[in-house]
């Protein structure tokens, strides 16, 4: 359709210009950094070109971090979407207007907490000796379950906190999307005596396909930034079983050795991988 001659330029131009400038400068800087051997302690550096990248692929911790990140992505993104869609449908079907409001406010609270704080509060709750979550187990069986000491236990616990923050928030957003849908198709389906889940499976969710894909990709990106949560709850442990890519890059760049060039090369690889992965997902889902 036609939208006028000047409007596309006036509307799109400034935003793109700002984004390109703001994004291009640090990105180029980071790529440049990744081709050198700079560390925080020795600012004089020389170009080593691809040496950092070659080193990465023989670095077991990096390869492990890639694998952990993949698990983390799949786990948190799918759980967040499932919780979000499930609760949104539940609110849409079974809650009155007033209750939807109350629940919406409630479900937004977790995501407003600073992540460091949320991580500490939950870590304390899961403590085997004095946590509130583990208390029923202690009281009933006398056992002291230490979930953070097992590789999968730690992963699932941290993922739980992530989904607690994001899944509930997504439920609110998806509910708002459903409320904004035109009511006619849903009512038509109800008149046809379609069951509740059928309406959503065949009517509502297909109508929301595009916004849901957008949300999914956004969550996938936010899941890539997990280091504050992971660092507080497990420090990447036990061992390296919850050490995600951005946490490894952070500890290489800022905590352990100050190898900022090495950390940058990791970040660049992470960027390239996500671009490839997301483009293919986006192309496939957006057909």
């Amino acid at each position: 359709m036609r939208v006028g001659r000047s409007l596309p330029y006036v509307f799109l131009g400034p935003a793109l210009l700002v984004l390109v400038i703001l994004a291009a400068v640090p990105t180029l800087y980071a790529v440049n950094l990744s081709l050198q051997n700079r560390t925080l302690s020795a600012p004089q550096a020389e170009y080593v070109w691809l040496a950092n990248y070659l080193k990465l692929f023989s670095d077991d911790r990096f390869l492990n971090a890639l694998w952990v990140s993949l698990k983390w992505e799949v786990l948190t993104v799918s759980a967040t979407m499932a919780v979000g869609i499930g609760l949104a449908i539940a609110m849409f079907e079974a809650a009155t207007r007033r209750w939807r409001m109350i629940l919406s406010v409630l479900f937004i609270i977790p995501v407003l907490l600073p992540r460091v704080c949320a991580a500490f509060v939950w870590k304390f709750s899961f403590h085997p000796l004095y946590g509130a979550v583990t208390w029923p187990v202690r009281a009933l069986t006398g056992q002291t379950p230490d979930v953070l000491a097992h590789p999968w236990g730690a992963m699932l616990t941290v993922a739980f906190v992530d989904v607690w923050q994001w899944g509930l928030f997504f439920a609110v957003i998806i509910l708002k999307l459903m409320e904004a849908l035109p009511p006619q198709p849903i009512e038509a389906a109800r008149i046809d005596k379609a069951k509740g889940w059928e309406i959503h499976r065949f009517v509502t969710l297909p109508m929301l396909k595009l916004p849901l894909i957008s949300l999914l990709l956004v969550k996938a990106i936010e899941s890539l930034r997990s280091f504050d949560l992971v660092y507080v709850m497990t420090r990447g442990g036990p061992g390296v079983s919850t050490e995600t890519l951005d946490m490894y890059a952070y500890s290489q760049g800022f905590i352990e050795a100050g190898n900022i060039s090495y950390a940058s090369s990791m970040a660049v690889i992470m960027m390239v991988l996500t671009v490839i992965l997301f483009t293919s997902i986006w192309k496939r889902l957006n057909k």
Partner: protein, 272 residues
């Protein structure tokens, strides 16, 4: 009441408890000493102490960080909405190669992890003389707010029926008027959700805030880091007090915004 409705309500009640119980527990813990927290059976009855709250409120950094957070986040979100929403409209309406690429480009800006951006940003802002200013953080956060607002507003505009806009054109509305008076009002609920989303992302941004500020421009997540340690220990009581106190401002903000939105909605529905 149908069985399925009952089941769904139970699910909702459980989810609500998942939020309420930890929050109430946190509130309770905020008034305990460390000795009362480190017990085998969580204590419901104890002698409350005001020390934790006092510690958090007594910090000079808290009030300053609250102002900073409010100014920085609302400016970045406002700029993001101002630039992002119109851009999203164009991308949704004009389908060509450039706009398709622009749509994905907006998202891909979030691909580079903050770890890689932190040092470049420090050097750049230092060079420009804006290190440790609100301005630097606002501009830095604009990449986040613009890209998320664009990305999440596109589907909102795509759902506005083209026929409605065509009708507006027949009514001799220009392209700008069509956007402001037809497309924007229809897509508004979703766009508000997108803007709220971008607010939450910058409100909780930590790494860049820590690296780009010292004391003048530090925001609340950085202060949260300050609250998570005292001496060699995690001061659990202080931490819980911080959770309670630091989550209040955005909650109030949200309640005000929510009430505003609600009145908009109800006005609309009475018009219907």
């Amino acid at each position: 009441m149908k069985l399925s409705t009952l089941l769904l309500r139970i699910v909702l009640a459980c989810a609500a408890l998942m939020v309420l119980l930890p929050l109430l527990w946190t509130l309770l813990n905020a008034f305990k000493t460390n000795a009362d927290l480190l017990v085998n059976t969580p204590k419901l009855i104890f002698t409350p102490v005001w020390d934790n709250m006092q510690y958090v409120l007594g910090r000079r950094s808290v009030a300053r960080a609250l102002t900073n957070s409010l100014v920085i986040c609302s400016s970045a979100v406002a700029m993001g909405a101002l630039l992002g929403v119109p851009a999203a409209y164009v991308i949704a309406r004009v389908k060509n190669r450039l706009t398709r690429e622009a749509q994905f480009f907006a998202l891909s800006l979030r691909f580079l992890p903050p770890v890689a951006v932190a040092i470049p940003m420090m050097v750049i802002w230092l060079g420009l003389g804006f290190y440790d200013t609100r301005f630097a953080l606002i501009v830095t956060y604009m990449t986040i707010t613009i890209s998320i607002t664009v990305w999440l507003s596109i589907p909102a505009f795509e759902r506005v029926p083209i026929a409605v806009e065509e009708a507006a054109r027949v009514d001799r509305l220009g392209p700008y008027a069509t956007f402001f008076r037809v497309a924007l009002p229809i897509a508004r609920p979703q766009i508000l959700a997108a803007i709220a989303f971008s607010f939450i992302l910058v409100w909780n941004e930590f790494l860049l805030a820590m690296m780009l500020s010292t004391s003048k421009a530090r925001t609340l997540p950085v202060v949260a880091s300050e609250m998570s340690q005292l001496g060699m220990n995690v001061p659990w009581g202080v931490l819980n007090a911080a959770v309670v106190l630091l989550s209040l401002p955005p909650l109030i903000l949200l309640a005000v915004a929510g009430a505003g939105m609600n009145s908009v909605f109800s006005r609309k529905s009475t018009q219907d």
